[in-house]
């Protein structure tokens, strides 16, 4: 019985396990008097590093946000634990159609790790183009999430749970941007 349970843990978890667990995490944070939102930690980090000297936006009492940096710390440890103790075979079982789309772009059709070597591999990140892609990707996420006032966790999950109209707008924006990148920009980058 225990062995069967362990086998299931080692396998990738299905959506109907992950979705409810994420809702549970949001509940815990609300119950602790906080909120579920990851991108705001980037604002806090800028503030801790002294960005308040150059922009008002970072002049707030970041000590009140320390709890969220602890969530970040836990998430990093969670990644480490998953990689080293909860996974037997790396790689992602992508659909046949996705494999075909990847090959059309010149990528390997098999996902042997969580991240494609064509973007995150040593060779890619040590080229100016590869470096620019990663910095730009991160920049757009950081800039866009603060502009929109939240990311996937804050808008698409917390905000929609609260039936907040702004969060629906933001989530549709996330999706529009994602579709534009995936279909009209990504194929021309590689």
């Amino acid at each position: 019985m225990l062995m069967q349970f362990l086998d299931v843990i080692y396998e990738p978890w299905p959506w109907y396990v992950a979705g409810p667990l994420i809702a549970g995490i949001m509940f815990l944070l609300i119950y602790f008097g906080k909120e579920f939102g990851m991108s705001s930690t980037m604002r806090t980090m800028c503030s801790v590093a002294g960005a308040g000297k150059i922009a008002d936006f970072f002049r707030f009492d970041w000590k009140k946000e320390r709890w969220n940096l602890l969530v970040v710390l836990g998430a990093i440890v969670g990644g480490y634990v998953s990689a080293n103790f909860l996974t037997k075979t790396p790689g992602v079982d992508i659909s046949a159609a996705t494999s075909e789309s990847l090959e059309k772009m010149g990528f390997a059709g098999k996902a042997e790790s969580f991240l494609p070597p064509e973007i995150f591999g040593m060779e890619a990140i040590s080229s100016p183009k590869g470096l620019a892609i990663l910095i730009t990707g991160g920049f757009l996420v950081g800039f866009g999430s603060r502009y929109a006032g939240g990311c996937t966790s804050g808008h698409a999950i917390s905000g929609l749970s609260n039936l907040q109209w702004p969060s629906l707008q933001a989530s549709l924006g996330f999706f529009a941007g994602g579709l534009i990148m995936t279909h009209f920009i990504l194929p021309y980058l590689f």
Binding site: V17, P20, V77, S95, T98, F114, G138, G177
Partner: protein, 137 residues
Amino acid sequence: MKYIKFILVGLIFGIVLAKAEIISWYRIYEMFHFQSFHMYGIIGSAAGIGIIMMQAIKASGLRDSEGEEIVVPPKERSSVRYWLGGTIFGLGWALSGACPGPMYVLLGYGHLGILIVIAGALLGTLTYGMLRKHLPH
């Protein structure tokens, strides 16, 4: 316990994101190609359960662990910032394959290349903070 509970919540969060492959660039790519139900199922079920949960919290008058009333601060009424900021975010999400939560988890997973993406995200956050007054909201 005051602080440890947040590390524990983060730990569970990190494990769920990694084990359900939400941190994989491939899963995001697949989602934007409508080639798998996986990510839709995760976001949809989390938000769906979230809606019921929030209604139940309101109806029951549940208080938080400090005994305070649970209030969700309303979001600013505006459109430009959500559509525009959201779209910019989406462009970056599909390019790097990671939103902020997964960036941290990938770091712990051992994918150190994500540090470049995190540096970019911090730079983007800083730039927003500096330009905020000049942007339409």
